[in-house]
Structures are given as C-alpha cells and as structure tokens.
C-alpha cells in the first residue's frame, strides 16, 4: 500500500545508518522522546493513508455504493471529524509530556554560553576555578548524564542552534538570550549547525559536538582553561611573529600569545579541533594553509579576508605555529 511508504523513514531510523547530523540516531533525552512521539504519529498517519487510499479506490472502482446516505455521512463524520477528534488530543498530550528544550534553568545545570556570528560559533564555558570564561569556537564539549543549559545569543543576524542528536532547535535573536536545555544519554561525536537562513555562508556554519563522560569532560575543561602552549619550534616561533605582524590578533584570540581579538574564532586550541571554517574542512596542514591563503575562494562572504600576500615559506611557518595550538 502507498501508505506504507511513510514508514520507510522509521525503518531507516531503526537501521541506524545515519550521518553525524541526523536526528534519527538520538543521543539526548529530548531527541529520543521526540522520536518516539514521531514514530507514533508515523504509524497513525500510515493508517490514515491506507484508509484514504483504500476508500478512494473503492469509491472509484466499485459499483455505486450501497447503503447510501447513512454510510456516506458516517464516512465524513467518523473519519473526517471523530477520528481526528480522538487522535489529536492523544498526540497533543504526548507532546506536552516531553520537556521542551528551552525550559527554565534548574540548579545543577551546567551552563555554556553560545554566541552565533556570521558564520561561526563562539562557545564560552564557565572557568573551573571561577576565572574569566573559557572561550572556544566551532566545537562544543558536554558531559554525559548531566543537564547542560546553553545560553544562546547572536552578535549579528538571527541564527538557529540545533544539535539534532540531542534536542530541538532554538533561535538566536538580537536583543534576546534564549536557552536550550539538553541531556546527553550516551557519549559520542556528532554535528550541529545553524538552521535559520543567515546569509551567504549559512550552508557552512556547522560545529562538532563531543558528549564525554563527566570526569573526562572535567579534566578536559581544566586543561582547556589554561593558556596556549608556547611555540615549540623555530618555524612556529616565526609563525607566531607573522601571526601578530599581519594583524591576525586583532580579530582572533590566542590565550597567552598576545592576541586578544574577539570578533573571530578563538584559536587557543585550534589544532585540537577536528574541523576548520565552522565544520567546512578537515583540520589538516593542507586545508589550514589553503584556508589562510584563499578564505574568500573557499568560503565567499566570510568575514576573514584571503591572506594571499603571504609567501610560501611564510604560510608554512604560520601553519606550523597554528598546528602547535592544542
């Protein structure tokens, strides 16, 4: 039956053959409960499709319906009115039982601030020792089993914050701070992205999410809070000088390296992130060099200019410096 087509996504979901940005492989409470709700609606919908298609085909191909007016009234009143009147409240009540992502803050929530920029993500963790917030970019790490509340804001236009595997999405709107409360149930590495059209590079505004066991997370955050390691090699030291000389530090920050810009991703731990360009490219030596020299070719409309005036050796040194930021 055609109605059965609708069940196909459900079957695929259960097969678990999903990409890193899929909701069909949930890791968080809200995503899992919502998937259960949705599967309920899928089966009911499949039933309705079968009902509609079957009665339609019967009406088309059978000889004139016997039973007459009473049966037809029953069809309209029963299937058109009574059926939704019974099913819809069930759906509504089940949906109300699911905790909505932007529920109120509760004591014990771990709070992470996320600020969206055209076209990247600033992430701020509370300092484990009560210092200034620990700033990172385009990668979010959270503890498993502990509720995390994201405070969501934007520096420019409207964006929307969604980690499909964890919970529903919430918009980031100028003049407001929204919040999303998530609880990861299983560890894993997956993707989130911007889901409100925000400009030329809306398509390339993703981030990675690591859900880590709580102790591992705390250890990571303690390490993350410190300054970047000093450049270790001669090349890296030259690269550091170039970094400052070309004004990279007026936009980017590297803690402890004299770069304190705030309008571009914090690079203190750049080398430890899996991707660059907000989820665009794998974080390799080649893509780093390409990115610096040809930002506007790779991601036209991003706020970083192409630094194509750098010579080959200079680029080499700069990349060596960045590769040491871990």
């Amino acid at each position: 039956m055609r109605g059965a087509w609708l069940a196909a996504p459900a079957a695929l979901a259960l097969a678990g053959c999903e990409g890193a940005q899929s909701w069909l492989d949930p890791r968080g409470v809200n995503a899992r409960e919502t998937l259960d709700l949705w599967l309920l609606t899928v089966w009911v919908s499949a039933g309705v499709m079968v009902l509609v298609t079957a009665t339609m085909l019967h009406a088309l191909f059978a000889a004139r319906w016997r039973g007459g007016r009473r049966w037809r009234l029953l069809l309209i009143g029963g299937c058109g009115v009574a059926l939704p009147a019974v099913v819809l409240p069930v759906f509504l009540v089940s949906s109300l039982r699911i905790e909505w992502p932007y529920a109120h803050h509760r004591p014990g929530d771990f709070v992470i601030d996320v600020v969206a920029w055209q076209f990247w993500w600033e992430v701020r963790y509370p300092h484990p020792e009560g210092g200034p917030p620990v700033v990172a970019a385009n990668e979010i790490r959270i503890p498993v089993g502990r509720p995390v509340r994201f405070n969501l804001a934007t520096e420019d236009v409207i964006h929307s914050f969604w980690i499909p595997a964890l919970a529903g999405k919430v918009d980031m709107i100028p003049g407001r701070i929204n919040s999303a409360r998530v609880l990861a149930e299983r560890p894993g590495e997956f993707r989130g992205a911007c889901f409100e059209f925000c400009g030329l590079q809306h398509a390339n505004m993703a981030f990675t999410v690591h859900a880590m066991p709580a102790e591992e997370f705390e250890a990571w955050l303690r390490r993350e809070a410190g300054p970047a390691p000093p450049p270790a090699t001669e090349e890296a030291r030259r690269g550091h000088a170039l970094f400052l000389q070309h004004g990279c530090g007026s936009c980017h920050a590297v803690r402890g390296h004299g770069a304190e810009g705030r309008v571009a991703p914090d690079l203190t731990r750049l080398a430890s992130r899996p991707t660059i360009g907000a989820g665009m490219l794998p974080n390799t030596r080649g893509s780093l060099a390409g990115w610096i020299a040809a930002t506007q070719q790779i991601k036209p409309g991003a706020n970083m200019p192409s630094f194509n005036q750098l010579s080959g050796p200079e680029l080499h040194d700069l990349v060596s410096y960045l590769e040491g930021l871990r």
Binding site: Q21, T41, M56, D156, P174
Partner: protein
Amino acid sequence: MTAARPPSGQRGEEEELARAWSSPPGWRSLSAVNHRPMGRRFVGTAMLFFLIAGLLALLIRAQLAVPENDLIGPDAYNQIFTMHGTMMMFLFAVPVLQGAATWLIPLMQGTRDLPFPRLGAFSYWCFLFGATILVSSLLLGMAPDGGWFIYPPFSSRHYSPGPNIDFWLIGITFAEIAGVAFAVEIITAILRTRAPGMSLARMPLFSWFVLATAGMILLGFPPLILGSILFELERAFNWPFFDATRGGDPVLWQHLFWLFGHPEVYIIQLPALGLLAMYLSVHCRVPTFGYAWVVAAALGTAFLSMGLWVHHMYAVGIPQLSLAFFAAASTLVAIPSGIQVFSAIATIGSGRPVFRTPLLFACGGFLFIFTLGGLTGVMVALVPFNLIAHDTQFVVAHLHYVLVGAAVFPLLGALHHWWPAAVGRQPSERAGKWSFWLLFIGFNLTFFPLHHTGLAGMPRRVYTYPAGLGWEWTNLLASIGAAMFALGALLFLGSLLATLRRGAARPPDDPWQAGTLEWWRTPPPVYNFRAIPQVTERYPLWQQPGLAAAIGRGEGYLADPQGGQRLIAITSEVEARPEMASALPGPTWIPIITAACFAVLFLGVLTQVYPLAVLGGIAAWIAVVIWMWPDPDAAHPPTVRATAELRLPLDRGHHQAPGWTALWLTLAADAALYASLVFAFFFLWGYAAQWPPAVAAPPSLLLPALAWAPLLAALAAVWWGEAAIRRGDRGRLARACWIAVGAGAVFLAMQASVAAGLGPPERHARDALSHFTVLYQGFHVAVGMTMAGMVALRARRGDFAPQRHLAVRIATRFWSYAVLLWIVGFPLVHLAPWLFAR
C-alpha cells in the same frame, strides 16, 4: 425613456447586448474592464510566473543534485530560492486563484460582471506592475536574497545594503493592494450580485470557498502591508521598528509576517479546493456530498487560520503556555481538512465517476498528495517535533505536499475542466492523462525522499552540502523527480496552448454535462447571459430542466439592455431577492492610469528619488478623484425594467448599493491594519530589549488635546450635512462639507506641529511608531477631506436627494471611523510615556 422604445425582436436585443458588453479590439483592449478578460489576464500572467518560478526551482534542484556542487554560487543561489518562494506565493498562487474567481464567480452566480469592474481592472494592473517591479530585479541581478520571509536584521539596511530587499517590499506591497481590492470586490459580488433566487444555501461551493478566502485576505494581508511599510521606513529613513538596539524587535516583523503568512496558506488552498469540489461533482455526475459540511469546513478553516501564525515561530522562544494553545489550534485544522477529503470520497462513491483528466488530478493530487501533506502537518504542529523539523528539508517536503496537493493539482484539473468554457477549445484527454502521471510520479519522487533528508539533519536554504552525512541519494532522486515534474508541467500547459491553433476541436455546448450556470452555453457569450436567470436549485442546469434554453430565449431578468447599458441585478445578501439594478461602466483607461500613478510612487521610493514618489502620490490622488467623480445624478433614469412586470431602481446613490457593502469591507481591512499597528505598540512594550526610550520630560499634552476640537468639528459638520440632505437641503450639505474640509485642514496643521514636538523617529521604536500613527491619522483625515470636498461640489451641481445620497453616507461613516482611529491612536501616541512604562 425605456417605455417609449419600440418593441424589438430577440435578435436586436442580443446584438445590442453584445455591443454593450464588448471591449475595444487591439491595443485599446487594455481599457477593457469586463471580468472575463481580467480573469484571463490574471490567470495567464500568473501561469507565466509559475513557469519562471518553476525554472528557478529546477536551478535549485540542479545545484543540490550532488554534494559540494559548484554550479551556482551562494549569492545567486540565495536570490534564486528567495525568488522561487516569493514568486510562487505572491505572483502565482494568489493571483491565479484571484483570476479564477474573477472569471468564474459572475458566470457561476448567473450574472454578467463583477459589481466594480474598474476596481477589478485596477487590481490586475497593480498586480502586474508590482510583479514587474519584483521580477525586473532578477534581470538586474539584484533580486531579493533574504528568503521569502526577509527577516530583519538580516534584511535590514545594515546587513543588506543593496536595493534587493526594497524590490521585495515594494513589489509585494503593490501586489497586496491588488489582493485587498480583489477581496472587497469579490465579497461584494458574492453577497450582492447572485442571480435572483440563488440564496446562500444554493450558492455554488466555489462561491463559499472564495468568500472565506476573501475574508482571510481582507484581514490577513493588512498586517503584512503594515509590516512592509514599516520595514521600508526602517530601510529608507532609519526608523528602528525592528532594531533591537533602539527599542525595536526583529521578532515583531516575524509576527506581522506570519499573521499574514499563515492565512496565506489557506488563501492559496481554499479557492483551489472550491474549484475541485465543483468539478469533482461534475465528473462524478452527482452533487457534492455533504454541502453543509463542506461549507462549514471552509469557514472553519478560515476562522482557524487566523490563530495559527505562531506555529511558524515555535523556535523563537515563546512562552510554553502560548505554544500549547497554538499547537492545539494547529492540529485542529485537521478536522475541516478531513471533512473535505472524506466528502470528496463520498461524492465519488455516490456518483458514477468518469475517468477524465480532472478526476485524476482530484484523486491523485488532492486526495493522495494533500492528505499526506496534511498528516505531516499534524506532525509539525506538535511542538517537540516542530523544533526538530523546523527549517529542515522535512518542512520543504511538507509544505510542497500541502501546497501542490491542495492548490497546484486541483488548479491544473480546473484549467482542463474550464478550458472549453474559457477559450472555446476542447483540451486533449490523452495529453492530460500523460501529464498527470508525469506530474504525480515526478512530484512524489522529488518530495517524498526529502522527508528523510530533513530528519537526517539537512537544513533548508543551503546552497551546498557536504558528502557523507547520508543526504546524497535522496537529493539526487529529488532532482530527477523535479525534472520529471517539469516535463509533466510543460506537456500539460503545452497541450492546452496547442488547442489554440487554428482548426482545433471545438467543444459541444456543456461538454461535461455540468450542473452550474457557467455551462449554459459553451463558450458563454460576451454578455454571459442573455437574461439573468431565476435560480431555484443548487445545480440549476441539472435540476431546472430547460433552463439553458430559457436563458437563450431571454427569459429572466434584464434581458433588454435598454439603450446599451451594462445592466446587472443587485440582490439581497441571504435570499438573493432582486433589489435594484446596476448600470456598470464600460471600457475606461482610468484603472490603468491610476495603477501607473501608484507605480510611479513606488518606483520613486525604490530608487530613493523621493520627489518622484511625491509626484506619483499626487498624480494617484488626482486619478482617484477623477475615477470617483460620477456623471450627474440627473443623467440617469431612477428605474429600469427588469422583466415585463418588474421595474428595479438603479443603484446609483441608493443607500443599499454595492458601494455601501464595499465601504464596510474596506474599513474592515483598514481596521485590521490599524489593529496590527496597535499590536506593534503593545508587543514592543512587552518584549523589546531597549524599552522605554530615555526621555528627559514627557511632551506637552496641550496642543494634542486642542487638536481634538477641529477633528470633532469636522465630524459634527459632516453629520450635520447628512441631516440636511435627508431634508433635501443641498446648500446646507455643501456648506457643512466645506466646514469639514476647513476643520480637517486645521487638524492637519496642528498635527504637523505636534509631530515636530515628538521625539525624532530615528531615536527609538516608540517614537517611530508614534510618528507613523500620526501620519496614518493624517492620511485618513486627508481622505475624509477629499470625500467631503467632492460631496460639496456634487451638491452644488444638484446631485443627491433625500433618499439617494450614498456618497454623503459614505463620507460621514468614514469620518466617524477616522475619529474612532484617533480615539485609539491618541493615547498610544500622547499617553505613551505613562501607558507604555515598564
């Protein structure tokens, strides 16, 4: 005059009718105002935009066919998807159904034209000029690129400095004005021009659906018109309505947009479903089963549609309780939709279906595709799932199932069905069926897989996507399906156009053996009906044997044009008792000239050449005054002969003339706009980040309070004038109206100095709203002054009588409305520091 006319034969009357109703040939046909050329132009133009927007869709699918495709860059892609949505919604879906209603309603209702032919023509020209402005941006490479919803701040001047968004705001506002004009005209037509005896309960279902739709347009378009004006003021003059740093809020735009945007979905859907109900019953050879249920479903949908807008904004961060309300209201729409689906099935079951093309479109398009879209609609109405699906490809799939299933497929079936009546040629069944299957399979292939793509995490409005996230196969399938759909659409439209060639098959009279009046002769003559019939049944041609022949013999009302007049019958709203006759205007250039003046105004704003805009505004004002300036009352007979026994009064100046109905409808639309403005004040008060403005001392109330004196004086004067004309005193009426004009001028002068004392509008959103409210009030007083002045001049030349002074009554009601506006507006503007404190 008519009594003295010698009795003439049937032929003579028919020729005179044809002469009276004909439009000039060649390029001068641009001055035509008859509903049929207007309807054809609307449908034809809209189909052209359908093809262009469809081409844009193919470009989208070509770009997304494979991951990391570099066929189209992000800048072009953003323009393409924005224009695809904008054109499909505003330049295709709404106008095509406007055109269908314009063409069909008078024919179905057994009359000869719409009650305000010039307004209908004006509506078309506004639409055409607005659409041309918008589409020209594509050719200039400056098309809107902020999505069809153009959310600020992304679309505000700071982030979108080019003219792209201005094209959107201006083109769309122009087309929306066309929509409101259409709504006023078609509601009046449905309520007041049905054939005698066609009571509400005997009205064709299509009329009910269009009535519900026009009601939604009347209340749903004004919020967007207001929003667009505010947005353009923000972009052009830096009035910060949506700027969070100066007391505005970008979410205000979202509310205004979706207050329009959700009714819009049903504005598109309902007329198409009305068409479907009509032709499904024809091809099943039985009346629609459950007429009353279906009418209730249409009206219920229209009612519910006004309370659903927030379900496009669940992710904005709206309090839980309101979300629960909107979720419940959204799911409730399933009930009227369910009624329509099962009524259609019951109709098929009770009849003897004939497998012609329209039946396929009804079953495959509506019953299958729309039902599926409705079911996913229930899913996205549920808040937790909505927050998952929102802005993913799942919603792309859902909305196309709904809109294509409930509007495009039914509409294509309707084109096939009414083609013989509209152009007098018989469409090809073979091509129709082939194209149906191409469209049906192509559509499902395109959009069904996208449900999965969305849940697998693919966003909407992305120009590219990486490989390896499980989105490749479904995207490729969708692109193949889109090509198939395009092929089907070309075959369908091509085969229709091919019937226009010389020597193509002509249809017999009433080729489908239909039951409603538009089929009494195929194609109907230029004057629609030889005589306006007396209707006693819901399906007159089925249930009133011999009716078509009787119409042909001239049996009915107003068979005799009585000196070449374009006569139609005006009937009562419920029972359709003949009350009066209306002599409609013939071909005239004034609608196109007026629309052109507005085009100059809008182009001036678009190009920021404001003197040009002012010039256009003044020209438009003059054009409207000329338009509204009638022949002297004395030039028209008070009554005309409707039948051998019955004389009907002419509607000119009559207290219950269609113009009276139109007044209240226009005021309703205006009030909807004003209500949106009041909403803006309260919304910003409640939610804006920077509120209230930092002001040293509240402004003085003395001058604003004094300004009440001239306003109330003007109101008293016009009412005094109406009392005078009721006693037949034209001189006092004229004097009273001049007093109103003078008092109005004093009010405007005082308001101008009051406005100068308000804070600068660029400072804070509250100041900007106050200035806008004062301007809006001034506009209404200026319109009232124009009306009063025209009444005074007409009274001087001897117009108006104790029983016939509609223009006076309209002026007094309008002034009362203007005062009412200020009763609301005055506290908003002048008591704001106290009213909107936090």
